[in-house]
């Protein structure tokens, strides 16, 4: 008959040892996979960047006008950088999937299967967000420059507001792609957005009635600003 000591201490310890013997190699394998994958992702990015630079990818994209859009974001240094980072992201994604699959547990395998089915939604949402970042940066910077050159007070506030609005729209669309929030979120956003626009219209038309009139008069009649009486050219 087994002693109390065996049942109380040895058995649980043996069970933990058995489970660890099963889990630890998997964890090590996952960890090694991630480290190798991370390294491969870095190498893939470096190689892609070099290849794209050799192929004068930036020069080619520059002609399409897409280049300036990428540079305007301030996130990517060049179209080649964007391409390289995209490849790096892909390698990372496959590394993670490989690591989960290698774990071989029903949960991780099920997770991988569900994830694979979900990939198109993720890609769509990612693209929407990326586009949101690009467009919001471009539009907010343009708004900032226009506001500063018109010498409007609160130019940064205007630019920030524009950026938040555009990003909010992108986030709502991305969430909708991921089936998070759904219609209620979209409706809530539409109500808030319409409310802001309505409030701004009232503020401009009523609160700043004189300013609105002067601005419209200046636009219609083409009045000359005081400092522009002289010729710059």
């Amino acid at each position: 008959m087994r002693s109390l000591f065996d049942r109380m201490l040895l058995d649980p310890f043996n069970r933990i040892a058995d489970q660890s013997a099963h889990v630890v190699p998997i964890l090590i394998m996952v960890l090694v996979t991630l480290i190798i994958g991370g390294f491969l992702a870095f190498v893939a990015r470096w190689l892609t960047l070099r290849l794209l630079q050799l192929a004068r990818f930036d020069h080619i994209v520059q002609r399409t006008g897409f280049s300036s859009m990428i540079e305007r974001t301030g996130v990517f240094r060049s179209p080649s950088d964007l391409g390289a980072r995209f490849v790096q992201g892909l390698v990372w994604l496959f590394t993670i999937l490989f690591a989960l699959n290698a774990a071989g547990t029903p949960a991780s395998v099920g997770l991988v299967t569900r994830f694979v089915d979900y990939i198109p939604n993720i890609i769509a949402a990612g693209l929407v967000l990326l586009l949101g970042v690009v467009v919001s940066r471009v539009i907010s910077r343009s708004a900032l420059l226009a506001a500063v050159n018109a010498q409007w007070p609160g130019a940064r506030l205007i630019a920030g507001g524009v950026r938040v609005l555009v990003m909010s729209l992108a986030i709502v669309i991305a969430l909708e792609q991921l089936h998070i929030g759904g219609l209620p979120l979209l409706v809530a956003f539409a109500i808030v957005f319409a409310g802001i626009v309505f409030a701004l219209a009232i503020a401009f038309g009523l609160g700043a009635r004189d300013m609105a009139r002067q601005w419209l008069e200046a636009k219609v009649r083409g009045s000359v600003a005081e400092e522009e009486v002289f010729r710059h050219l």
Binding site: E71, A84, V229, L233
Partner: protein, 430 residues
């Protein structure tokens, strides 16, 4: 080139066949002033070129105030009182809409095409809002081309000390520094040039850029100098015109002119890299003193614009200005009133760093140019404060000083240009 000519214009050109002189007048809603310009040109052609076949071409951007009617109906003025002998040939007159992007450059393109089609020996262009034009301007701009073998004649005016600040602060000193010719009014608006040069202009593929707008003047001047055409200047006295071009707001005008100039730096890098000194350009005509219209400038508003720009656009400036330039700018720009000052060297460094960033697209080009406007207004305010009590000669000396700083700092431009190129070429992944 046929696409530039509407059917009516084509028929008219076939009828005229050839001409010695073509005078082009671009216009857009200038009914109020263009009649005077057409009369002055007509008298000028009849008086100074009675034996030459001439054509006046009005290239119009779709005016709604009957500008074209005014051109066609304008009389030749008091020619009987001005002319000793009557001209052998009648001057033809054409008014045609131009094709392409709306702007002065597109209007000029049609004029170049007409000059080429008519095999003109000389071509003159004058603005349609001029109030100080005289018949003598046509002789001064066309004679050096017809009789002295010049290809390009830029105007030389006397202007108010606050007038032409983009010219005085950027374009004139930089053109002189980079291309080695001292053309005092490189974006003056009135030019004379040979038919050969007009044909050369037409060969260029620039008509969907800012050259089609206000960039045309600097593009014509720099192209003529950089490509080795013979360049001169003509003294025209004072330039007085309508207070403001209706379609011109400062930001877009600045963007078009300075953007075109920066783009030319890219095209002619091989030329300006090797220029180490400048030479005076021959001046035709008889210089005389004239009164200029008084101008008022609101420096407080300009200073405010510069201060707001530095405060709000710091993030953008940090993308193309060097850290030292940004520190200097911040320290200078916060002074108010008469104490406000932007030193020449700081201004020159800002322009050179902006030109480099434009070349290597460190930042979106449009954003770069727009962000320069507050800095330009600050520099203009600084200049106005500095020359408040100066006379015309002293102001010219002051502009000459600025030109010398542009020249002295040219090695900095080359160094910056090379450094950013190297940085771009060796961009490492992070």
């Amino acid at each position: 080139m046929d696409e530039l000519f509407p059917t009516e214009l084509k028929a008219r050109l076939e009828q005229i066949r050839d001409a010695d002189i073509v005078v082009g007048i671009p216009s857009y809603n200038n009914a109020r002033t263009i009649g005077h310009v057409v009369r002055a040109v007509s008298v000028g052609l009849a008086k100074y070129f009675p034996t030459q076949r001439s054509v006046i071409v009005n290239s119009d951007g779709g005016s709604k105030d009957k500008t074209q009617d005014v051109v066609m109906q304008a009389e030749s003025g008091a020619d009987d009182l001005l002319l000793v002998s009557h001209p052998v040939h009648t001057s033809y007159r054409i008014s045609t809409p131009y094709h392409g992007i709306p702007g002065k450059g597109s209007a000029f393109r049609t004029i170049f095409a007409v000059a080429k089609e008519l095999k003109a020996k000389a071509c003159v262009v004058v603005d349609s809002d001029l109030r100080s034009i005289t018949p003598g301007w046509i002789e001064l701009l066309a004679r050096p081309v017809l009789d002295h073998g010049y290809d390009y004649i830029a105007p030389y005016y006397l202007r108010h000390k606050y007038d032409g600040t983009i010219t005085n602060g950027i374009i004139y000193p930089m053109t002189r520094t980079l291309y080695g010719k001292s053309v005092r009014q490189p974006i003056g608006g009135e030019f004379g040039f040979s038919g050969h040069l007009a044909a050369r202009y037409l060969e260029k593929d620039v008509w969907d850029t800012d050259v089609a707008r206000f960039g045309i003047d600097i593009w014509m001047t720099v192209t003529a100098i950089a490509e080795g055409f013979r360049v001169g200047q003509a003294y025209l006295g004072a330039k007085i015109h309508d207070a403001k071009d209706p379609g011109a707001d400062l930001t877009s005008m600045f963007r078009q002119v300075v953007g075109s100039f920066f783009r030319l730096m890219e095209s002619y890098e091989d030329i300006w890299r090797h220029v180490s000194a400048y030479e005076q350009v021959p001046l035709f005509g008889f210089p005389f003193e004239v009164g200029v219209e008084p101008l008022t400038v609101n420096t407080d508003r300009m200073i405010h614009a510069a201060q707001q720009g530095v405060a709000d656009l710091r993030e953008i400036y940090s993308l193309f200005l060097s850290p030292q330039t940004l520190i200097d700018l911040t320290s200078y720009v916060h002074r108010n009133g008469q104490g406000f000052h932007i030193p020449d060297k700081l201004w020159v460094h800002m322009i050179y760093e902006a030109a480099t960033a434009f070349r290597y697209r460190t930042i979106d080009r449009d954003h770069l140019l727009q962000s320069l406007v507050p800095l330009y207004l600050g520099r203009t305010a600084s200049f106005v404060i500095e020359v408040t009590d100066s006379n015309a000669t002293q102001v010219e000396e002051r502009i000459e000083q600025l030109g010398q700083v542009f020249e002295a700092e040219k090695p900095y431009l080359a160094q910056r240009w090379d450094a950013v190129r190297k940085e771009k070429l060796h961009a490492q992944p992070v």
